[in-house]
Amino acid sequence: MGEIITYFQYPFVRYALITGVLISLCTALLGVPLVLRRFSYIGDGLSHVAFGALAIASVLHLTNQMLLVLPVTILCAVLLLRTGQNTLIKGDAAIAMLSVSALALGYLLMHLFSVSSNISGDVCSTLFGSSSILTLDRTRVLLCTVLSLLVTIFFILYYNRIFTVTFDETFARATGVRAGLCNLLFAIVIAVVIVLAMNLVGSLLISALVIFPALSSMRLFHSFKSVTVSACLISVFCTVIGTLFSILCEAPVGASIVACDMIVFLICAGAAKAMRLGR
């Protein structure tokens, strides 16, 4: 315990925890509607797109890489979530295709126009999130805080519309909800959250942050509201425990958080089964 308190005296540890908690809150919020709409894999797909865009940005020597990464990811999110219209390739196949091609393209570009001597190290850290969360500076923490707050406010204000559209888009449109606008905003917010989350766990593990809290709480709760609230709590809890574990044991942050999410999921699934048997 004393060891943890000593660590908290370092600002980078506090920054890492604050950012981690905020990002995992956002991914949990969006995870519930995404899982219910069968878009569980979108986190993976979009984060690979972000990885590809990041590779292009570093090849082009852009000073502010976010200027390229964010718009590209948003564009892909909008295209993927556009439902009901005639898309060339549907849902899961589209995500899978986009995901692998962006990953391959990014890796290829990084190889062909290498900007640093340690490519595999760079790739590995983008994919798995390295320990970059422990090297965040004050401005990035601030940016992250503001964006997370905006995402949370968006979710709360649009909560009822998100629920109605997620449950039944045809009905929502028929009663006059502007489902198109709702989907568009939702796609933009997802893209922003995923680009943010890349800092924390890297692109390979974002899916875990999106789906695990939602799936865990769906084992235990049966209303949309309680699932959403408990997903947030579970997600924040796992991030805190995972981060502390990684600091104490010098383990990779992203992988520790995901391992923690996984354990909680297994516990929830077990508890749900036990409750059913007990009844």
Binding site: V32, L36, R38, N86, I156, L157, Y158, Y159, N160, R161, F163, T164, F167, D168, T170, F171, A172, R173, A174, T175, G176, V177, M218, F221, H222, S223, F224, K225, V227
Partner: protein, 232 residues
């Protein structure tokens, strides 16, 4: 009094025309059964009436005293929806979403509407239950209660009894008949011969179009052949 008049309406989707020159009129308190083979454009007709799909030709005239927001809609049940995590109350309440206008949250009036609707359909004691734990018949009632929340004057029902066993189907018809007796206009797509025991008008779409009273329909060659196999 006519709530809706369709003149020379052409229906279709993705640029493909399925129905041409459709004329019919919906009066307040009518109970119209929409019949026709699979793929003949029945669901497209409903979507067109709801302004979800633009008509390819012709026009839909709505009465001044009647607005589109007074239509409640029960879509055809899709499979993925049945395992959705939501309580009955949340789903029924979402039927009132049109009244939010620019507000973000439901107020007392919306919550009361939802409670009244659940009471009317006998699902008040299920309100905290999860939607996915309900039987098919109960799920259908929840969706009907949601449609009723949105409906001021007219209900569009897309195959409300398909997939239900005869007992639940009969219950469903009774519930709908109750709404009709209260003055609600009903437009219902159904393959079920029993629906004609309740409906006062039939709109048949397909290669041959028909619009008239149920009696006329059953006497017509079209009605006789379509239900020759006793319906579904």
């Amino acid at each position: 009094m006519a709530q809706l008049v369709c003149k020379a309406l052409s229906l279709g989707y993705e640029g493909r025309c399925v129905v041409n020159g459709l004329n019919f009129q919906v009066n307040q308190g009518d109970y119209i059964c929409i019949a026709g083979e699979n793929g003949s454009g029945k669901t497209t007709l409903m979507k067109t009436l709801l302004h979800l799909t633009p008509p390819l030709g012709g026009e839909i005239i709505t009465d001044e005293s009647f607005s589109l927001e007074e239509i409640g809609y029960l879509p055809q049940q899709r499979q993925p929806q049945s395992d959705f995590v939501a309580s009955v109350y949340e789903i029924v309440l979402s039927g009132t979403i049109a009244r939010l206008k620019n507000r973000a949250f439901y107020g007392k009036a919306e919550k009361q509407t939802a409670l009244n609707s659940m009471e009317r359909f006998g699902i008040l004691d299920l309100r905290k239950k999860s939607f996915r734990s309900l039987s098919g018949g109960q799920q259908q009632r929840v969706l009907l209660a949601r449609a009723y929340c949105a409906a001021g004057k007219m209900l569009l029902l897309d195959e409300p009894v398909s997939g239900l066993d005869p007992k639940f189907a009969a219950e469903m018809y009774d519930i709908i008949e109750g709404l009709h007796e209260d003055g609600m206009t009903i437009l219902m797509i159904s393959h079920d011969r029993k629906a004609l025991d309740y409906a006062d008008h039939v709109l048949h779409i397909g290669d041959t179009l028909f619009f008239g009273t149920t009696e006329e329909y059953l006497k017509s060659p079209l009605g006789k052949t379509f239900y020759a196999y006793g319906g579904e």
